[in-house]
Amino acid sequence: MKELVVISGKGGTGKTSLMGAFASLAENKVLCDADVDAADLHLILDPDILQQTDFEAGNTAIINTDKCSECGLCRDLCQWDAINEAFCVDSILCEGCGVCVYFCPEKAIDFPEKMCGEWFLSDTRLGPMVHARLGIAEENSGKLVSLVRQEANKLAIEKGIDLILTDGPPGIGCPVIAAIGGANAVLIVTEPTVSGVHDMERVAELASFFKVPAMVCVNKADINLEKTREIEKFAIENGLKYLGVIPFDQVFTRSMVNRQTVFEYDSNSNANKAIKNVWEKAVKEMGI
């Protein structure tokens, strides 16, 4: 079983469009959308949801005002300032640590489990898919990312499929750490801009920190050829496998508007030849 996770550091470099393109190119695979915060792959792949499951994680404190003696101990102990003067808990600020629940002398604080979102097992025209939706303003995105990856792994074993393609989140924090741990490789999709380079360097450092082999490709490469060369140089000097460039091409936007992968929309665009080349190198590198 091999898992490739597509990440970028910076948002909007083309991760999901590229993931859709790879879905068109790879024959047997399970697709996994691990960007649970703002999942978009389903907008292209239009999944038939076969199974929908609630995602419960963590707890929230709720003060029972009938029992509360307003002693104020909970407010003193709360590190998140989540309890106001009227002894009402702000569920957005509450971290779910349970310290107030434990110490309340009146046992006046309930601590129910929290519904943080849901996850889905689906079929798409390009293969089975596991995806999720984190509730707005919710925490525990890392746990949900880990869950969808585990479920994708289970599904792949069940179906005898030996490749998982995972669409990762932007950034380098909790959900990204959950998305790359234990993967066979990450592909960093970057762009030749000051931000793209800066963010690629940080996410490459993260991959190295967690000992996940990293590959790099440059999208919209012709926007700044000097920065593109800078990225190639960085990749080579830092032991990242450089997979090449994809030109700036309106086919990305047009195919997205049509809810198609770039290959379904126009199999002969310039970007497509370049994407195929990147994919073939990734396949070779991972021994898929």
Binding site: K10, Q79, I92, G98, V99, A137, F210
Partner: protein, 286 residues
């Protein structure tokens, strides 16, 4: 309020989807308005605004969070710390209490509950806050330590530098979960930046959901407004979200961005448009 009776507001710039132009808008707005302004880059995972502002940094503050260290000689193995911890950051394994500092949320439960006072605090570094300026523009950003998972406390540390005597512009991270909330709560106005594509719209809807939970007025900037489709405008109209600015796709703008050049400083006419944007926001907030 300043001398002219104008209240110095906090504008947080968010998007849902990444790469829609938050930093472009935040930096252009910051250099265009005729008032004292500070820019707080709260995208601590991938801060980019400094690449455009090129500030002179005058101070770096290390931000840490307290995590437990157990003194085995005092520990009576009562297991109370293991029981209270919701994050599996402290646990009894055989005859020792083991801590996993990277899982700790610093709630303080274990050291509050320990009857032997056997738990002391040590620091886990979350990252750094850097403070600087350029041409009178005050600048602060946070840089999450690579490998650190917890961004919100570092975002709060950046926001603690908010100067109430200045207009504060916050560059928020993408997404809709806890780091974004940390960058938006308490703002007077949320400026949402999107692109008119299915991904842009889908993530915009999530961002609007988050803004509504916080109950803060918002408005929209549509970047690359001539690509994609019309759905974002329909959504904005249906939900009474004012469209405050549209920026058509321009390869020249993309190339300038790639070099770290602030759009409003090089593309003629845009400084005035950003001034107007600030005026429009003031009209909405007051």
């Amino acid at each position: 309020m300043d001398g002219n009776g104008i209240f110095k507001m906090i504008i947080s710039i968010a998007s849902g989807k990444g790469g829609t132009g938050k930093t472009t808008i935040a930096t252009s707005l910051a250099v265009s308005v005729d008032t004292d302004v500070q820019l707080l880059d709260c995208d601590v995972e991938e801060p980019n605004a400094h690449l455009f502002i090129n500030p002179v940094f005058v101070k770096t503050e290390v931000v840490s969070t307290p995590v437990p260290v157990v003194d085995d000689s005092k520990c009576s193995l009562c297991d109370k710390c293991d029981e209270i911890c919701q994050f599996k950051a402290i646990a009894r394994i055989a005859d020792t209490i083991i801590t996993f500092p990277e899982l700790c949320h610093s709630c303080g439960g274990c050291w509050e509950v320990c009857p032997e006072a056997a738990i002391e605090k040590s620091d886990r570094r979350l990252g750094d806050v850097q403070i600087g300026h350029r041409n009178g523009l005050a600048f602060v950003h946070g840089r999450l330590r690579v490998g650190e998972a917890m961004a919100p406390p570092l975002i709060e540390a950046v926001r603690s530098y908010t100067n109430p005597d200045m207009l504060t512009i916050i560059d928020a991270p993408p997404g809709t979960s806890c780091p974004v909330i940390a960058a938006m709560h308490g703002a007077d106005f949320i400026l949402l930046v999107t692109e008119p594509t299915p991904f842009g719209l889908h993530d915009l809807k999530l961002a609007v959901g988050a803004v509504n939970i916080l109950g803060i007025p918002c408005g929209l900037v549509i970047n690359r407004s001539d690509i994609g489709d019309n759905e974002v405008k329909t959504f904005a109209a249906d939900n009474n979200i004012p469209i405050l600015m549209e920026i058509p796709f321009d390869r020249q703008v993309a190339e300038k961005y790639s070099q770290g050049i602030i759009m409003a400083e090089v593309i003629p006419g845009w400084k005035e448009k950003f001034k107007k944007l600030y005026e429009d926001i003031q009209k909405i907030v007051y």
